[in-house]
Amino acid sequence: MIKPSLTAGISGLRRRPGLVVLLYATNLVLALILSIPVAVAFAGTVGPTGFGEDLAAGFDIVLWADIIEEAGDALAVLFLHLLWMVPLYLIWKAAAGVGLIHALRGDQIRSFWQGVGRYTLRGLLLGVAFAVLAGIGVVVTLGVVLVIGAVWSGPVGGFWVNAVLAPTLLISLLAVLDLMHDYARTALVIGEQPVLKAMQTGMAWPFRHGQASPLYLIWFAPAAVLLLLPTVLDMNVAAATGSAVWGLFITQQILLLLRAAVTVGWFGSETAFYETIWLSELPLIAKEETENTPETDDAAPFSQELPGAEPNDWASA
């Protein structure tokens, strides 16, 4: 079931490239807004000095200290902007998540914005619930790390516990919660489940369906690589001239655009995976929970064909 889900994700990408552009563009616009005070500060402090090219060519702690001293206040604004931008982004991401699922579900073309309008509030509630879970999970994990650290102390133990075990556990925990959150959101949109029920569905999902985790990891890998590559490039490419700086930036943007594509493909795959299972279990669910029968919107509740089985058919729809 992994392969059809992957295929469905990729064909969803081909079908809805606009979603990729939308995700990428909102990120870029917010980031550009954030960068304006930085650009102004650096242009003001370094611009007239003539040190610009030297500083672009390599790190110079002496000049950097002078810059921070002079432009520190302007740079602090950057962090103030993050205070409103991060919450705003999280709301957007909750909306985009449900919008994507709605838009990518299998039977026909549906409007991303319609999904946003219909499910954002519940999507947000779900996000908050998982944030609380993540908070609890992080605290518990750190507690476990502390206990292990107390047993395995000393410089060697300290290294493995703090620098290896703790990050691995935290990343694993967050990845598992993210996977659960993905399917909870899908249950919310496609299954039309109420928030708490959707949360239950999501949390049970990786345990009930063994292929959910490999499917997640298959998308996780390129997502992580594409997210890190711009930094690797930045550290290793000494761009000191205007054209080199632009060249580096455009390359990074291509990578980040691909990263947005991975998000869309990822959602498409998981949506298809969910639908496949949902369709096969639907009669059972419908019998048990008639009150929760998914309401229909502008289409039949489910397609006659299993989504993903003939992706080209519904891709062309």
Binding site: N27, L28, L30, A31, L32, L34, S35, V38, A39, F42, A43, T45, V46, G47, P48, T49, G50, F51, G52, E53, A56, F59, D60, I61, V62, L63, A65, D66, E69, E70, L78, Y89, L90, K93, A96, G127, S153, P155, V156, G157, F159, L174, L177, D178, A223, P230, T231, D234, M235, N236, A238, A239, A240, T241, G242, V245, F249, Q252, L256, T263
Partner: protein
Amino acid sequence: MTVLALAVPVLAQKATIYDEPLSERRVAYTLNVTLDPEARTVRGTERIAWRNPDDVPVDSLQFHLYLNAFKNNESTFMRESGGMHRGFSAEEENRWGGVIIESMKVTTGDQPTLSTTYRTDDADLTDRIVYLHPDDDNLDDQTVAAVPLPRPVEPGETIFLDVEFESTLPRIVARTGWGEKSDGTRFFMVAQWFPKLGVYEVPGQRYVPEDAPRGQWNTHQFHENSEFYADFGTFDVTIDVPEEYVVGASGVRVSETTDGGMKRLVYRAEDVHDFAWTASPAFLEYTDTWRHVNLRLLLQPEHDGQAQRHFDAVKIALERFDEWVGEYPYTSLTLVDGLGGSNGMEYPTLITCGTAYLLPDWMRSLEIVTIHEFGHQYFYGLLASNEFEEAWLDEGMNSYVETRIMDTHYSPGSAISLPGLRLDDGPGQRTFYAKSTPSRGALFTRSWEYEVDADYGKASYMKPATVMRTLEHYLGWETMRRFLRTYYDRWRFRHPTTRDLQDVAEDVSGEDLDWFFDQFVYGTAVVDYAVEALEVEAVEGSERYKSEVRLERREDGIFPQTLRVRFEDGSTEERAWEGEAASETFTFDKPTPAVEAYLDPDNAVWLDVNRLNNRRALDASNVFARKQQFKVVVWAQQLFYLIGSLF
């Protein structure tokens, strides 16, 4: 140069490369001690010999009992540090230390019969010991002791004392004490551990006036920020430890025997002013050689694999100090990888380094600490300035040479070498000085008299490294090197002062350097010159341009400046400015307009606390601001994707 003729055992290896004494050897210590790892004590006997170097009789002796700084919360050290120093915390068990003098007697019987040996019928001095508080009125501090003698020691006469003492080692604090590894293995850094004579300074020595009627003891209490000061001499030290302990010590090992589960090690050190040792069953031992020096490294097992990094670094230091400063006269050097706060410290021919498990190559802290602590064999060891009173002479001069070695050998990235982030040691220290209230804290300050505690570090390490690098650029490296060599030649095995160092610099350079030392060594002058404006206008009725550069001195420090002006046609002109006035204008009338004014274009004046304002260009490129903006954009996009993937 009279030398104490003590019974010298047959040496397996000479302690120095010379047959004759290299120092005045006013003191000699013979110690026989046993380490009790369970009790964390070192106890035994000490025979101290001291020769009166003065022209008048001296009626008392003064000692440092440094370990008493860790005796309780009432010592000056603990009061000043608030109970915290290099990882020492008040809650630890068995944290306290101290030294108890069980008895102190004038040696009566079996010492070598010198015609000038001090004799008395009233030999027991134990009850005569009193504590002194030369630096404050803290009656509870017991780190300086005085012993009034039954009769004075005559000029040239030598007094021998037999002391029975027990030193309790504190939990590692201020570089000394015991530590425990996570598997329960003990580690001992036995430093500042025995009753030790202060320095009797004769008239004309250091700051005692030439015409003073008599010399005086120079002792100071152990302060939070202070290090040490002692006279050159010889050490014959016999150490008993449990058999499984690996020991490293100052000097050379004369013999090693094992008997009944205990190991007896005999060491001899010559022409040094302290003796420290370390013991732990955990040490891995490595050896190497550099020319005449036997190198020995005692490494924590978890740092196995980093031995070569230690040896490489210390050999670079040996090489450079030999070339730039002078010969390393000793035949041994022990490098110790200790625990916690015992690391990063210097003792004669023994240094503690310090690293971390799996320390990556790009992090040069291991090289920096090894080269720094080795450098103290010169600035502290051989050039034995008073660390209490003039810490910059040891820490600062050493930091200067350390940064120079690091930046010569490992630059770019001599401190941190990551792609995209290469940080050099010297510029790092310069920046620390420039951005930590540079107007506060003179180099020439007694270590416990800084108004703000943190200024001790800045004024003893980073600022002097910056001051000396600036002096180097001012005098030229060849002159600077002659200065370092002459300072070494003139003052090795003695106790130089700031004044002596300035004298050498002036002799070598042939220049009165009061202006420099008064501002940057004795004073706190701050240097900041700036290009205030660059203005160009076409001269009417001609094809010429009038370019005007306005320079400003923005702080009180005065330092000669070089201005380089670049013109549109690519030509440049340089102007010198003595930098005394608050501002200065230079005007250029040329057929081409100026496009850039650049003060100190060769980056010679490291003391300048703001380099960014040294330059103004009319054709400046905006590439840096654009690059930084793009960095922030990408960074923010990554952040959004990351948090977005979680929620």
